[in-house]
Symmetry: C2
Subunit: 540 residues, 2 copies
Amino acid sequence: MMDFPLLLKTFLLRSAKYFPKKEIVSVFPESVHRYTYADYYKRVCQLAHALKSLGIKRGDRVASIALNDHRHLELYFGVPCSGAILHTVNFRLPMNHLVYIINHAEDQVIFVDEDLLMFVEMIKDQLKTVKHIVVLSHTGKKPESGIKNLIMYDELIAQFPEKYDFPEDLSEWDPAMICYTSATTGDPKGVVYSHRAIMLHTYAVAVTFGASEADCILHIVPMFHANAWCGPFAAVGAGCKQVLPGREVINMDKLCHTIAGEKVTFTAGVPTIWMLLYDYLEKGGWHDFSSLKTIASGGAAIPRQLMIDLNEKYNFPIKQAYGSTETTPLATAAIPKSYMADWPAEKLYDVKTSIGIIALGLEMKIVGDSGAEVKMDGKEWGEVCLRGPWIANEYYKDPERSKETFIDGWYHTGDIGTIDEEGYVRLVDRKKDLVKSAGEWISSVDMENLIMAHPKVIEAAIIGVPHPKWQERPLACVVVTPGQSVSADEIKDFLKDKVKAAFWIPDEIIFLKEIPKTSVGKFNKRELRKLYADSQLKSL
Amino acid sequence: MMDFPLLLKTFLLRSAKYFPKKEIVSVFPESVHRYTYADYYKRVCQLAHALKSLGIKRGDRVASIALNDHRHLELYFGVPCSGAILHTVNFRLPMNHLVYIINHAEDQVIFVDEDLLMFVEMIKDQLKTVKHIVVLSHTGKKPESGIKNLIMYDELIAQFPEKYDFPEDLSEWDPAMICYTSATTGDPKGVVYSHRAIMLHTYAVAVTFGASEADCILHIVPMFHANAWCGPFAAVGAGCKQVLPGREVINMDKLCHTIAGEKVTFTAGVPTIWMLLYDYLEKGGWHDFSSLKTIASGGAAIPRQLMIDLNEKYNFPIKQAYGSTETTPLATAAIPKSYMADWPAEKLYDVKTSIGIIALGLEMKIVGDSGAEVKMDGKEWGEVCLRGPWIANEYYKDPERSKETFIDGWYHTGDIGTIDEEGYVRLVDRKKDLVKSAGEWISSVDMENLIMAHPKVIEAAIIGVPHPKWQERPLACVVVTPGQSVSADEIKDFLKDKVKAAFWIPDEIIFLKEIPKTSVGKFNKRELRKLYADSQLKSL
């Protein structure tokens, strides 16, 4: 068989040659931009020339700080197909992390949305390698800015020919993209994606969710999150119509009109968006979901009731998937098996709210304390470990932290889960958040959910604190619903007949005004532990 | 990203672990055999032990002479996953070719259906490398045979444990399967498929036809033809129910009852089968195709009217695909684009009867006489050339013939075709069958179809014969419908207003009793040319 490398170029050329009439739609606040794959390809070629003119060489890193629109999509292919590496920057990171990742990746050029230029302005003096700032502008107006020599993207690429000979001598192992994880401890960690990994992952995504040319894909998940789950790559390869909602992604009225108006069949996003959507729908918001066939959700667990309500009240059936920056990201998907079609609804939602079964092409093991794989009984806990052609084997230029996570050819996710007899995996907790009391594990997530089920509690976080006899005991940090009051004993009573074992019930409950959160809105348990260690964690 | 090899083992383990309850059904003349993927996996493990016991080492070739059933499916994974290579023998080849390919591949063991043992008996004395003959028996009766030491497959594997540690240190470039083409000239040519090629091809097949776990796949295409188009690999990977019809594949009544009874959703086969099916249906044969979603056809062009009739009379919508032994085999598929949905039926059938557009992951060019790519106008002719990760780069141990076909990184298919503005390719002729008259090409296939449209003609073959002035001229070999008579002038008159240009009309028409055919039933033009050269080609 030919030693023909798996390169993104093959996908790009396919849409240009075979689907030139298909549309790419960008939704802006005041207007909608439409063009075809023929137009797209010409601009990607122009961009490739432009990168060369900016001094970008093979292997150089190029940053994007951008929302979802056609210019970002041009970068998605133009940068890697010409041999450079696209670093999709998550601009929601804290400023010091933004500076860190751009310097760590040694980005040479930043392509930045006109609306996001302020982020670059704030950090520009700390950037060590960036030589050019290129503004992705939809208004066409050159922004007033303290940054000198701003380059306007459309003007830049307009100077160049609409054809480009993309290199054929890249290796499939060459890097195409970089993302950084939003680290809860230390600096963000970089993951480099090869052409090979992205191509294989794209096939797997298409097979898992059944995408084809007939689909119209709405990219809700930001293009700076784990390659937008490779939706853009699948769409370009298959010649799908694409809809890029930019900042309008949180405008539910606009989003619903876009779904109906563009006849969207396929979309993917995080639970936060589904919560906004549900809120909008509950308030009687206009919608017509008749074109939708597939809705993938990931990034965090979707609340069961939200999934049920969206499905049953609004015919908005969500399929949950799981992965991380380290997994390109698709690792598992919760698609019920065909013979489950006549299962009772509740049992079927047990399947649908799991993280699912392994994607075609990967291998998984769930390893218990003993080092052996857990039983497929839905009960035994273990750490989810993954391997396969689109799983990272290291963090970029970070051998120390790589060693802790990538062990003997397996990616140790740090997620603790169970696997049932049908192969569906359910996550129990993060490994570092488990509490070990008298040699037995307690899931902090389970306990938090139990406590938050109390009508007078709005938030609850569990951390393990040292105990002279039991090694660790769970400590509950609780925020009471405004206007209510509840005692520690009331909460303990409430838990009694609900916990798996009596020793799960926290000895101590601390009432807080709020629970410290990370930049992505998760409970910051590291901060809680630190406060506790410093004797700063006290009830109101 | 991990350097994790693409190995068939990953697909095998996935179905064993995640789809153990799904069914594999073999249809035999007198009975139906059913078991699950759990059973399948155990037997594949036993087979791997058995191969070792027979002295099969990594890289050794193992032949199958078998129809489509679960035992053949066990060989499909058991052999390559344990590191050996499965040579699926096309027992319909002429005997001398059968001997040639088994010796050329240096097969160590032959696994043969009890019903096909006669083929082995006929050639056994000429086989140079075969050490064991293993009988795949459904009846369980040891055949009476002149072959000594026949091994019974079920007895052989029953001795071994139901677990096997499949090697993890194979390379994805290691060979998994071998097929030989049914050569029209010289000896058959071998194509070796790597694990990598098959895995990638399998993804492409699944993406092209939208296969998923919910599908029930009926394998009509023989498992000795180009890996059964990788249907078995896709099915095992995705955990599909599979139905293997064995020799009952030509029993249309049984086939139709099987489709309905097993709720088949997906099948693939050659036009010969569709003709048999149409005949059966026209005679009022029972059928219920309500479960069927996807029907792929390949191996030869499906007659347009047959496609229309099956679709419109019987709701049996066929999707044409194209490929060859050298392409694993999927290269193109004629799936209309979504925006063609409202095209007039005739125009849509123009699309559906083409060979389609390139599969996701491959690259194609159609190269005209000048060496440049032809225009996408549906008119200019050129040779279809392919490259990609599941395209062969050589014939096995045959450097001379490899050089003629695999040139500068492209597989030259020998098929002459056009490509229209939508990217759909139509084949015009085989390169070697084109007639070049006065510097202009004439398509033998086009002319044959025109002549065969005459009501008194049943068969017509065109060959080019030398001409002192025009270089070559077409010669028509015609078989008249039994009981009819027609003159050469009548045929020429009939062609006048139908041919593309007057010079296409053959000067000479020879009437034959029958047209010599190849082993696969195609016109043997090589034989016609030889007869002509020897002055043996004369009218009745």
